[in-house]
Amino acid sequence: MFFKRVFFGGKLEKEVLDLIENHLEILINACETFKLAFEMDDTSLIRGICKLEDDGDRIRREIATRIYEGAFLPYLRPNIYRFSEVVDEAIDKLEDTVYDYLNLKSRKILDTVKGYILKIAELNLEASKHLFKAYKTLLEGKDLGEITTKIRFYEREIDSIKNMVKAEMRDVEVDIWEAITFVSLLEHIVSVSDLIEDAGDIIQIINVSLR
């Protein structure tokens, strides 16, 4: 086991690193799909995110299995698995946003704040792309500071948009269930960037965990 790992390049480790890359690509894909589908109000396209969520779950389980089989030193394992969990959670939140979106009967609030939601979706997409960039930078051993700062910036931007949305939706008269469903949609879509920010922090921790 050990000699293979040292002399043949750590097959399990390479598999985990490839799986993480796939996982991040799925996150970007899901963010992009949501943005496009929301922009075009395309319900069949937006349902594709549920399939991406399934793929994300599968990848997280595969990462767990490889780690259980002995990939990486114990000092790295918890953070690597935690990273995949957080990325998976971000994809889950996008899926939850999709269900909220599909459950909205009236589009009164949505039409009022559509521009804001679209902006949040765009910023989520940017944040996910930067998370991918942060991961690639981690592999290269370069400085992560600038990239993770950008991720934090997107998250703050989204938080301020959320407050604006809440302020504007007060003026729209709708059914209570519509309001609840919309608030749920808002919370879910906003939490995607929170989770991406958490994942960025974990990358920073992984980067210093052997130091």
Binding site: M1, F2, R5, V6, P74, Y75
Partner: protein, 306 residues
């Protein structure tokens, strides 16, 4: 008479196997880098290489230069040493086999009016004090070098290299177990007439048996120490390995365990003095004093009485 001495020596070799395997491979097994069986095979191979290539220096110091020996003193000192080592293991307060053996030999020699080479004895005692200090310094140097080189690279590349370095330091310790610890145990019996090659093979076999049957308990304990980060752990182990190897080359019997403690104290010192556990240091100092003095005193009394 040689049979009785040989039995005592193999019992000590068995004890070294059961206690000190964790010094070499505990971290590698704890990290999941090596399976227990693979570690045992590596231990056997490198112990044999160690005792074959460099064991003669320590054997000569213990078996020829330190004290004058006769069959009575040998039987007494090695029997007492074996009993002290086994009892301390049973009480879960393991003592350094080197110190117990040296204490016994000197105590027996004094009781039976055999010559004691004060110069060699002084060198041995100075080695016991300077070897952990050497390890302390070497561990700090190792940590600093890693900090300036390896730790600046990508984390996953660093992880791969560290895995290899951990195996390297484990192998150095296994080599030292053969060249120093086993050589200390077998030194007296070799200078009583047993062929050194036979002594090396018999000693290694019993050390292997000790590791096979009892070492998993100690390795289980070492797993609990993995709170020490991997770079610090490696630096401490590697510094200790180098330190023991230097003293082995000088023919001095020194304790790997104390050197590892010296190494851990070194990296602890780098990371802040408050990280060093005072209660543990007290226990180690107690063991350091108790090991040679208890065996010395018992042999001195028994030597006078018998």
């Amino acid at each position: 008479m040689i049979e009785a001495i040989l039995i005592a020596c193999v019992a000590i070799a068995f004890s070294i196997g059961s206690n000190d395997t964790s010094n070499a491979f505990g971290i590698c097994i704890g990290c999941g880098l090596l399976k227990f069986k693979t570690a045992l095979i590596l231990l056997l191979v490198f112990v044999l290489i160690g005792i074959s290539l460099q064991g003669y220096g320590v054997m000569r110091t213990v078996g020829k230069e330190l004290v004058g020996l006769n069959s009575k003193s040998l039987t007494l000192s090695l029997t007492v040493a074996t009993l002290v080592i086994l009892t301390s293991n049973w009480l879960r307060f393991p003592l350094s086999s080197h110190q117990v053996i040296i204490g016994s030999l000197v105590g027996s020699a004094l009781a039976l009016n055999l010559p004691i080479n004060i110069q060699t004895l002084t060198k041995v005692i100075v080695s016991w004090m300077t070897s952990p200090a050497t390890s302390f310094i070497l561990s700090i140097l190792t940590y600093r070098i890693l900090e300036k080189t390896l730790l600046r690279l990508s984390v996953f590349f660093t992880e791969r290299i560290l895995s290899t370095l951990l195996l390297l330091s484990a192998v150095i310790i296994a080599y030292n177990i053969g060249a120093n610890e086993l050589a200390t145990a077998m030194g007296a019996v070799v200078y009583s007439g047993l062929n050194p090659i036979h002594a090396g093979i018999i000693g290694s076999a019993f050390l292997f048996l000790g590791a096979l049957t009892l070492s998993h308990r100690v390795i289980g304990t070492v797993k609990g120490i993995s709170a020490l980060d991997v770079v610090s752990g490696f630096s401490a182990q590697f510094g200790a390995g180098l330190s023991v190897w230097i003293f082995t080359t000088l023919g001095m019997p020194v304790s790997t365990t104390y050197c590892i403690v010296g190494g851990i104290a070194g990296v602890g010192f780098l990371k802040g003095v408050e990280t060093v556990r005072v209660d543990l240091i007290e226990r180690i100092v107690l063991s350091w004093i108790l090991a040679p003095t208890s065996s010395f005193t018992i042999c001195l009394i028994l030597g006078k009485v018998i």
